[in-house]
Symmetry: C2
Subunit: 186 residues, 2 copies
């Protein structure tokens, strides 16, 4: 490749990279705000809720899975899990087939909390959801962001996407459970 061509390519790459950085910041700040408003009544921060969410949808998870999938440091995952244990939402355990890792699992109270929070999801405003409705109207479905998924797979590995898909498969299946227990939180 000629030097000028290589220079051009490097600049295009930088332009793209800074573009996605800006978009990502704007999107995350909106997501963060929506998330905080939703969980505010429950006295949880985003990391704490994320840990409960992961434990619920993976039906128990190792601290290192929580950290990996929640995109937080292992020490953050551990410390917030401890706080959630103290509040009675999580149990710590070891597994016979995996003595080295510490696992967390929701207690009945933690499960009830997650179900209650999902039931109340639409009681707060979700700007990202509202901002996506015109796309749903136009295309008949919500966007699936396959490009972003591919980039994230390349960064975080197949593991990450596997856990991601597994958690959402469980989430979808849990809809039935939610419907069967409409009075669980009343």
């Amino acid at each position: 490749m000629a030097l000028s061509e290589e220079l051009y390519t490097k600049k295009e790459a930088m332009l793209y990279s800074q573009r996605i950085a800006q978009l990502s910041k704007a999107l995350w700040k909106a997501v963060e705000k929506d998330w905080q408003q939703w969980i505010k009544p429950y006295d949880l921060n985003i990391n704490e809720h994320h840990i409960l969410w992961i434990s619920y949808h993976l039906k128990g998870a190792s601290i290192s899975d929580v950290a990996k999938f929640g995109v937080m440091h292992v020490s953050t995952a551990f410390n917030f899990s401890k706080k959630l244990e103290e509040r009675g939402f999580l149990n710590f355990s070891k597994r016979d087939d995996d003595k080295r890792n510490t696992y967390v699992e929701l207690t009945a109270e933690g499960t009830a909390l997650i179900i209650e929070m999902n039931n109340n999801y639409h009681n707060t405003f979700h700007s990202v959801l509202e901002g996506s409705l015109p796309l749903k109207e136009l295309y008949g479905r919500f966007p699936d962001f396959l490009d972003i998924m591919a980039v994230i797979r390349n960064i975080y590995g197949d593991d990450f996407i596997d856990i991601f898909e597994r958690s959402f498969r469980n989430f979808r299946e849990s809809f039935d459970t939610l419907e069967e227990q409409p009075t669980v939180n009343s």
Copy 2:
């Protein structure tokens, strides 16, 4: 709409919304890490660099534009701008046609800093860029994330996207300037 259908729609919406929340968190954490590694040698935090970046590419901007486009509180934009002024990178000014707003503009030193940082962009690892290269190979170009752009336009308004496009148009044009001044930072 039947009640069960509405319930289903609400659940689909929640599933989508939590899906994009997870993706957005993972993407932003990768962007944030790349960004921090890049700017680390210059003793700047992300907000400070973002303010310089916006001032450079918009060729001067009001504090409220910086806040809006940088997705930060006005007080954050103001306080970090003050620090950048103290370090000699930014000038504050009022404009004759707009007495109410405070504007910031890069000093020669601030401009040299931004150019130097862009010249050194590829000296640090950018996981998001690396993770996007397979898409570029496959499609012949980097993804443009039109879905995300549409969602962000709906959340932040046309203004935001206009400033976004303007800054990247200027960025692209500034490539020529960079090439004409290869020794500006030596």
